[in-house]
Amino acid sequence: MSQTQTRWAVGILGTLGVATVIVLHWMVFFWVPTESTMGIVQRIFYIHVPAWWVAFLGFGLVGLCSAVYLWLGDERLDRAAVTGAEAGMVFTTIGLLTGPLWGRVAWGTWWAWEPRLTLALLLWFIYLGYFLVRRSTVNPEQGKRLAAVVGVIGVLDIPLIHVSVTWLRSLHPEAVILNAEAPMSLDGSMGATIGVGLLAFTFLFASLFLARYTVAGYEYQLTLRDAASGGTQGVGV
């Protein structure tokens, strides 16, 4: 894609994202009926669930792109991986902030060792490690390789961590008063709101992804130019 095309694509996707987020908020606050058992706090789910969907999309990209990057050594895959990790981190943070807000009302506590919540926290830390490693080497190329290794190991470990935290819950059933997804039978308007939420966050994710990916490309070119002119090292992404 040329520079203009990329700008247009980012602009269109971003506008669509922001517009659907506004529509989503209108639907959440004024349109969708209040859920009968959980009450008004259930509305947080229309933000929470889509945030998780794109967070997992981001982390899936990290694992896939990291593995293929190590295999083929293509710079673009590394850029896609770091972009996915950054976006994943942002949306995981949204998920981690909205979850306890809901939990405070529904469970009566800010934090419960509910499997999904625990997994989310661990995921957040795994990808914190990804960024730490990336920036901790003198040679930026090596930092990229190390981060990719963390990305691959992280993705391999996620199913095992998931099994662990879910299995632990069966030992402590009292930790979960409400299952996060199962008890909600979605009525039509609720389904529509979730649908708009998913769409909105996917648009946002796509525009952020594309914008960040392009910037990562510029940063890489800058590094190359600096290296060629014998100057100092550029920004390590």
Binding site: F125, V133, T137, N139, I161
Partner: protein, 226 residues
């Protein structure tokens, strides 16, 4: 195949010989284990909490912390003398180097684990009424999985300016399966529960060890090359 195993063994043997002569890592891990046992004794009010109820948790966390202490130094010696460059230039395949390091670390940590069980049983008068073979299996697989992951990240620490301070952030979230399935199995075995209750734990610990040994053997080359 035989020559490959000989290479793996050569690396493990070299580490073992160095350790045998310097006692560097075993001394620090051993002292850590005894001293942490002493500290636990002061930190836990045995009038309120029965140590037996906490045994599995204390044992596994001590193994992990002691392991981090020792395993974090896996490549320290090579790094200091520039010996790593020599090893990397030798014709040994990098996965054999990794597996050799894992084997060396595993033997080293196994010795420490024996000490952990000895010290904690003595300090806290723990009673074990389960199946010893099963406990052996749980600990062996758990420790092997831990070592395979830590060895890889220890190589990463040598290549990073953050060094060993990087290890806890990277390893602790990934170690959750070992902690969950290792402690619950040990807990049940200490309580003398039937073997069938821990066979699932054993399978997951085995899966963890296999997955990360294979992944580590593949990924190691990307970590260690400059």
């Amino acid at each position: 195949m035989r020559s490959y195993l000989a290479l793996v063994w050569a690396v493990a043997r070299k580490d073992f010989l160095v350790e045998f002569r310097t006692h560097e890592r075993l001394t620090s891990m051993g002292a850590f284990v005894v001293l942490i046992g002493v500290l636990f004794n002061f930190a836990i009010d045995t009038a309120v909490v029965r140590p037996q109820a906490l045994a599995a948790a204390l044992i596994w966390l001590t193994i992990i912390f002691a392991g981090m202490l020792g395993m974090g130094r896996t490549f320290r010696l090579e790094e200091q003398d520039g010996a790593l460059t020599g090893i990397l230039q030798s014709p040994i395949p990098l996965d054999a180097l990794y597996l050799g390091k894992v084997l060396g670390n595993f033997i080293l940590l196994s010795v420490t684990v024996l000490l952990v069980f000895g010290v904690f049983t003595m300090f806290f008068s723990l009673r074990f009424s389960g199946n010893p073979a099963m406990l052996f299996g749980v600990v062996t697989l758990g420790v092997f999985g831990f070592v395979s992951l830590t060895t890889l990240f220890s190589a990463m620490a040598t290549r990073s300016s953050m060094g060993e301070s990087l290890l806890p952030v990277l390893i602790f979230p990934l170690l959750v399966p070992v902690v969950v399935f290792g402690t619950t199995a040990t807990d049940r075995l200490f309580a003398g529960r039937p073997v069938a209750e821990v066979s699932g734990n054993l399978r997951i610990l085995g899966a963890f060890a296999i997955v990360f040994t294979i992944a580590g053997a593949w990924l190691f080359r990307f970590v260690i090359e400059e």
